[in-house]
């Protein structure tokens, strides 16, 4: 039943991709760069994050105002008929600070969307099971770390929402038996919220982003040719959407002065969407009507609506299902590539062509005619037959599939225009 479900989803996904190929050609089909897109967007987050870092001050007193300094709009006035910046407004921001923060904000949403789409595509095309368990499991880890880094980004602003999220997180962690209290204290760097709390969140944010790089390396380790760069058109499309979003909806803190100045302007209502942060946090004053971000705050929505215990249950089951997914159902692996020792010349063609790093070239015993021999790592072999096509000496075979059969299959697919 489950196997049939996977077969159906694979068939539907491939049909969708082929349909899009007819429009975009294979070269530019964005669905073929689903894995490269999150990494591509990640670079935007790194560079915009470094720029924000230049002005951010992680203390209780200055965190909100430093973010406000980066992103608030200049208040303008006319002096002698000329437009000038209002010198009385101390919160006038740095040029394009709101756009840089906008790129960081929309890029973060884009990365999460791209990551989830990547995961769904891999799952629906049944490319997550068996020998692919490591990329899948490391991908689940990446998703969790990305979520954590995103949430800590919201905390750094240190507005009402950030404070509420901290309270929810502490409640969530404390509900764990035995280690809950210690974890909650570790999260805020002590028994109570101090300046060290913001430093701790800042550490979480930067260290988490670094961990993403490490996990990406683990994610790629068994892939010979991972697609890490989208096509030019996909690059442009992604970059364009991020810029258009950051330009249309920059992450702006609309200051009191600005609102007063344009109080009679009907556009103020229209621009209320621009407000990226709430009022500065006041410890002890919990705001109940939090604006939940769909991509990063769904765990908090669960905690808010279900309570900490049920939230643990829902999230725990979801993570367990994701971790078990690559190991069920088990396939019969009776077609692992086999090397005929007498025929292998050690040319390395099969090893170079194997997409999953499943063939190692090892030295033969001294005195042999050839220096190297191909050795198949059974756990990594996908039984795809690429090595069979690569070998000019017919020295590697799939025991239950003759090379002529593979050739006939390839020709049939080419005839179909696949």
């Amino acid at each position: 039943m489950y196997r049939k479900f996977l077969k159906t989803t694979k068939s539907l996904t491939v049909s969708l991709e082929k349909g899009l190929n007819a429009l975009t050609t294979q070269e530019h089909n964005p669905l073929y760069f689903h894995g490269a897109l999150p990494l591509y967007i990640f670079w935007f987050l790194i560079f915009s994050g470094i720029m924000l870092w230049m002005y951010y001050i992680p203390t209780l007193e200055r965190a909100w105002s430093s973010v406000n300094y980066i992103t608030s709009l200049p208040v303008l006035g006319q002096v002698d008929g000329k437009w000038v910046t209002d010198a009385t407004n101390a919160s006038t921001g740095i040029p394009y600070g709101a756009v840089v923060r906008g790129v960081h904000r929309w890029g973060a949403a884009g990365m999460m969307i791209a990551t989830v789409l990547h995961m769904l595509r891999v799952y629906f095309t049944d490319r997550h099971r068996s020998w692919r368990w490591l990329p899948w499991i490391s991908g689940v880890g990446l998703l969790a770390v990305l979520l954590f880094v995103g949430v800590t980004g919201y905390l750094l602003v240190w507005d009402n929402r950030a404070y509420a999220l901290v309270v929810f997180t502490q409640e969530f962690l404390r509900s764990l038996p035995l280690v809950g209290g210690a974890l909650a204290d570790f999260f805020v760097a002590g028994g109570q919220i101090t300046d060290y709390t913001l430093t701790r969140f800042f550490f979480f944010h930067i260290a988490g982003a670094t961990l993403i790089f490490v996990l990406i390396w683990v994610h790629f380790i068994r892939l010979k040719y991972p697609a890490v760069t989208p096509s030019r058109a996909t690059n442009f499309l992604t970059f364009g959407f991020i810029l258009a979003a950051a330009g249309s909806y920059p992450a702006v803190n609309v200051t009191k002065e600005l609102l007063e100045k344009y109080a009679s302007d009907s556009r103020i209502t229209q621009y209320s969407d621009y407000i990226a942060s709430d009022a500065p946090a006041h410890i002890g004053t919990l705001v109940t009507n939090i604006r939940y971000d769909a991509w990063y705050m769904f765990p908090y929505y669960l905690i808010d609506k279900l309570g900490a215990g049920w939230a643990w249950a829902v999230l725990g089951i979801a993570v367990a299902l994701l971790l078990v997914a690559p190991f069920y159902p088990k396939d019969i692996r009776d077609n692992i590539a086999v090397v005929t020792e007498a025929k292998c010349t050690g040319c390395t063609f099969c090893s170079l062509d194997c997409p999953f790093e499943a063939i190692d070239m090892v030295e033969r015993t001294p005195g042999s005619k050839f220096k190297l021999i191909a050795v198949v790592n059974e756990a990594r072999c996908s039984q795809c037959g690429v090595c069979v096509g690569a070998c000019p000496f017919l020295a590697i075979e799939l025991p239950n599939t003759h090379s002529k059969t593979i050739e006939a299959d390839v020709m049939a697919l080419l005839d179909q225009g696949a």
Binding site: V99, G240, S248, Y274, G417
Partner: protein
């Protein structure tokens, strides 16, 4: 084998590039207008510049954004930083759309110049 170029592909590419550079040029021109004509960035520099340089800049660039060529097609409100701070990031928005148009032109060109795979027995 050399990829045959389709005439329509070239037209598609040229149109895409023209739109791309038109959008980019309008965006940059608008921003230059903002930068060179005052707040919030360079008004202090302009105040200290010699009169003839100021006059030359004013002659090259129109005084108001709505005087820029084609601007009405891309920014119907004719607003810039000088007029409304909420509109100050239109330049970024336009650049974003320019990249999207460029991507579509690229995909269109690839589509129109695609080569069908043929298998010879």
């Amino acid at each position: 084998m050399k990829t045959p170029r389709n005439t329509f592909g070239w037209i598609f590419l040229a149109t895409g590039l023209v739109i791309f550079y038109l959008l980019a040029a309008s965006a940059i021109a608008t921003e230059l207008n903002d930068v060179l004509h005052g707040p919030p960035f360079t008004s202090m520099v302009r105040d200290h510049m010699p009169h003839f340089l100021n006059a030359a800049l004013d002659a090259v660039l129109p005084l108001k954004v709505q005087n820029l060529p084609y601007i009405k097609y891309f920014n119907p409100q004719h607003l810039s930083t000088n007029d409304n701070p909420f509109e100050q990031f239109n330049v970024v928005k336009w650049m974003g759309w320019a990249f999207i148009v460029g991507a579509i032109a690229d995909i269109g060109t690839a589509y129109l110049t695609r080569v069908k795979t043929q298998v010879e027995e």
